[in-house]
């Protein structure tokens, strides 16, 4: 007795049982009037020109930070990705060893969340635009590098070998054989990363690095819900435009959807793609200039206290087992919530197209809204703690996973589901048997990847207090305890690397059985 594919998909939702049981105990009684005010304000955002002006300039800063961080990461990632590709090294030098070494080294910047990079750089460089840009560019660059090298090494090498055998020099052969098939995949992933970068830039703002995020947090804290919603609607408009634009380009260039739940024929208008990539360079330079990003500022480090003077005894006496287990539990709860709730909600709303549209809109808000703000909102009615933090993190990722599941259902083969409806089964059961069966394994594989991301993201809900390594790190940062911070970062990085390895294995296993 092994659960069949569609049931496998619903298993993570079992996490709802303990969550719903614990929820009544978490309510602290008050705050519902605030939630009501907040909801009501959605329809009456502030239209005060002064407010709008300040929000718009904040939005401009956020978008510019996102664009610069993303652009830098894209180019750095391309270069580093090539440098960590086994195929490249094998073709150029005849050995793969250097690729492995670079790959390992890149794991470290990748394992640290952009928020931590941001807060660290803030301490070192002081508050200036380059901090947010670097905070995004460093981890994103390492992520792009990994995707580029994975894509490269997965390409069939028959063409390459044929070119080499016919006497083409190695660089030319590599470019001719691997360039065209690589580009659509990289650009598709790049488009997705731009959406992430906008979310990250907003998040960094929430933690004080400027831009719209800072405005949002201030308005929420001062309970100016009308102004808060003005900012949210603006952000929503930008995000919608971005998602639509990326979607259009994806279709125009026939790029694969991210994480390829379905394989399409890929690549059209290659020259246009290359030109678009090149046009980014002047755009980024102009934006950087306007923002006042000054690379020279990187030279001016504030002196850090030496780690040698650390009080390591005190570091050792931190409650490590609780910190680690708290982080893992938080991740598991948030992951179960996000992965399991998406198919469950799609099933519940299956008979009603209007409910589907409403759900899609709710998901959009969820992925737009930075998790620490969700957390602040939840804290109006819930006590702080692990479950509240998990809710905030889970809801945000639900928005991302839900959209992915809906897209892959739309791209999938509708025939089996249609056949079941024609044979008289209800819309929900037809979706369960006919629709979800086909997407179950690739979706869960993506869920495994996303859980790994959530592990890294636990730090952003660290504000909930006493919920693992993340909150301890925020505390150490604010009290300038560098020795603690170094130890925490190391443990966190090790944990996320182990998590990455686990999620990779799980993903391969899920996809192999297709």
């Amino acid at each position: 007795m092994r659960p069949a594919a569609p049931l496998l998909l619903l298993l993570p939702a079992l996490v709802l049982v303990p969550l719903l049981l614990a929820l009544p105990g978490l309510l602290h009684g008050g705050g519902w009037d605030l939630i009501a005010d907040f909801s009501a304000a959605a329809l009456t955002p502030s239209l005060d020109p002064l407010v709008l002006q300040s929000l718009l300039s904040g939005l401009g800063v956020t978008v510019a930070m996102a664009l610069l961080g993303w652009g830098t990461s894209l180019f750095a990632g391309l270069v580093l990705g090539l440098a960590s590709s086994r195929t490249i090294w094998r073709t150029l030098l005849g050995q793969e060893q250097p690729a492995e070494v670079i790959r390992r080294l890149l794991a470290l910047p990748r394992s640290i969340h952009e928020l931590l990079w941001g807060l660290l750089l803030l301490q070192v460089l002081g508050l200036q635009p380059v901090v947010a840009v670097l905070a995004i560019a460093i981890p994103y660059g390492a992520l792009v590098a990994r995707v580029v090298s994975d894509l490269l090494d997965a390409l069939p090498t028959a063409n390459l070998e044929a070119l080499r055998a016919s006497g083409a020099p190695a660089p030319a052969a590599l470019l001719t054989a691997l360039g065209p098939p690589l580009l659509p995949g990289v650009l598709s992933y790049g488009g997705y990363r731009l959406e992430c970068a906008l979310r990250s830039a907003t998040l960094l703002g929430v933690f004080g690095l400027g831009g719209l995020g800072t405005e949002l947090k201030l308005t929420l804290q001062s309970l100016e819900f009308h102004e808060l919603w003005s900012g949210l609607w603006l952000l929503l408009a930008v995000m919608l435009a971005l998602e639509t634009g990326v979607g259009l380009l994806r279709r125009r260039w026939a790029m694969p959807r991210r994480f390829g739940l379905h394989q399409f024929a890929v690549g059209r208008r290659g020259r246009e793609m290359v030109l678009a990539l090149l046009a980014l360079v002047p755009l980024l330079l102009v934006v950087g200039r306007v923002m006042g990003v000054d690379p020279a500022a990187l030279a001016h480090w504030q002196p850090l206290p030496g780690l040698a003077s650390g009080r390591w005894q005190a570091v050792l006496s931190l409650p490590w087992p609780q910190l680690v287990s708290g982080t893992l539990l938080l991740t598991a709860l948030a992951a179960g919530l996000a992965v399991g709730l998406a198919p469950l909600l799609l099933l519940l709303t299956a008979p009603w197209p209007w409910a589907r549209r409403l759900l899609g809109f709710g998901w959009m808000l969820a992925r737009l809204w930075p998790p620490p703000l969700t957390l602040l909102l939840l804290l109006f009615v819930l006590k702080p703690g692990l479950i509240t933090a998990a809710l905030a993190l889970g809801l945000h990722n639900l928005g991302i996973l839900g959209r992915l599941l809906r897209e892959s259902l739309q791209d999938g083969n509708p025939a089996p589901e249609q056949a079941l409806v024609a044979a008289g089964s209800g819309p929900r059961l037809a979706l369960l048997y006919g629709g979800l069966s086909g997407v179950a394994r690739p979706y869960l594989a993506y869920g495994a990847y996303r859980s790994d991301v959530m592990l890294r993201e636990t730090v952003v809900v660290g504000l909930a207090g006493a919920v693992g390594l993340g909150s301890q790190m925020l505390e150490s940062l604010s009290s300038f305890a560098w020795d603690q911070l170094a130890a925490l970062l190391l443990v966190y990085a090790l944990l996320t690397l182990a998590g990455e390895d686990l999620s990779d294995r799980l993903r391969r296993r899920l996809l192999r059985q297709v």
């Binding site: 007795m1 092994r2 659960p3 069949a4 594919a5 569609p6 049931l7 008979p351 025939a415 089996p416 249609q418 056949a419 079941l420 409806v421 024609a422 044979a423 008289g424 089964s425 209800g426 059961l429 037809a430 369960l432 048997y433 006919g434 069966s437 086909g438 179950a440 394994r441």
Partner: protein, 257 residues
């Protein structure tokens, strides 16, 4: 307003003045058709003549732009339980079979019962496949080995898949059998076997409407409907289908092999 005895005597399927719009020309135009219990009707026409559209209207997948569909004398309910019960009485053998690749043979067979099952049974069937005896019987009827029940659908051969789709169709216990070019991709021996099976199942109170694009397999059918460019060209007994009619149906193409 319908009296039960009237409904019982009504045709299983009645199409009145059905029209379906298409991109450049109508897919169906003012089509009338009745199918009564016990009738075995072949739907003939070249590709693009509107056969699949007609079947999609007949099984409720497609709502016509004009005209009326009646199932056992009653119009389709809008939605809900009554509609599902109506749909459950119409079984379709799809051109592409539409098996669920990720599920086992038994789970696929049971998918035909979803119209009658609630959530508990539907979910349980995904862990412990239910109603093994009925499923085994359905396989035996199609001359398939019941040992296949626990196999994934992907492990079956092309011929086995075709038979499984038939078994699933019959497990649905429909009274109106629709089949969309079921013989097109089969070799001649398999095609005649499958056709014989379908014809045998279509005894009163059941009826069969099967689409074909070749006129050489008409033996065993009571009636033939000729469709050309979305219009009904003829609706007559099998014996009345002659060379002249086929030439008219297929245009300049040769009238069959």
């Amino acid at each position: 307003m319908e009296r039960p005895e009237l409904a019982a005597a009504a045709p299983l399927l009645e199409l009145r003045q059905i029209s379906v719009a298409g991109r450049d020309r109508p897919r169906l135009q003012q089509l009338d058709l009745q199918i009564r219990p016990g009738e075995r009707v072949a739907l003939l026409g070249s590709s693009g003549a509107g056969k699949s559209t007609l079947l999609a209207v007949a099984n409720g997948c497609l709502r016509p732009d004009a005209g009326q569909v009646l199932w056992q004398g009653l119009p389709p309910e809008r939605s809900g339980r009554k509609r599902r019960r109506q749909q459950a009485r119409i079984g379709t053998l799809w051109h592409d079979l539409r098996l669920i690749e990720e599920l086992s043979v038994q789970q696929n067979l049971n998918a035909a019962r979803l119209a009658h099952w609630g959530w508990p049974k539907a979910l349980l069937n995904l862990v412990l496949p239910l109603e093994t005896e009925a499923c085994a019987a359905a396989l035996r009827d199609m001359e398939l080995d019941p040992a296949l029940l626990s196999q994934p659908v992907t492990a079956l051969s092309g011929g086995q898949r075709q038979r499984l789709a038939m078994a699933r169709l019959l497990r649905q216990q429909p009274i109106l059998l629709l089949a969309d070019e079921p013989l097109a991709s089969l070799d001649p021996r398999l095609a005649s076997q499958l056709l014989a099976l379908l014809l045998r199942q279509a005894q009163a109170p059941r009826a069969l409407l099967l689409s074909l694009h070749r006129p050489d397999l008409l033996q065993g059918f009571d009636r033939v409907i000729g469709l050309r460019q979305g219009r009904l060209l003829f609706d007559c007994g099998t014996a009345a289908v002659d060379g002249a009619r086929l030439r008219e149906l297929y245009g300049d193409e040769a009238a069959g092999p």
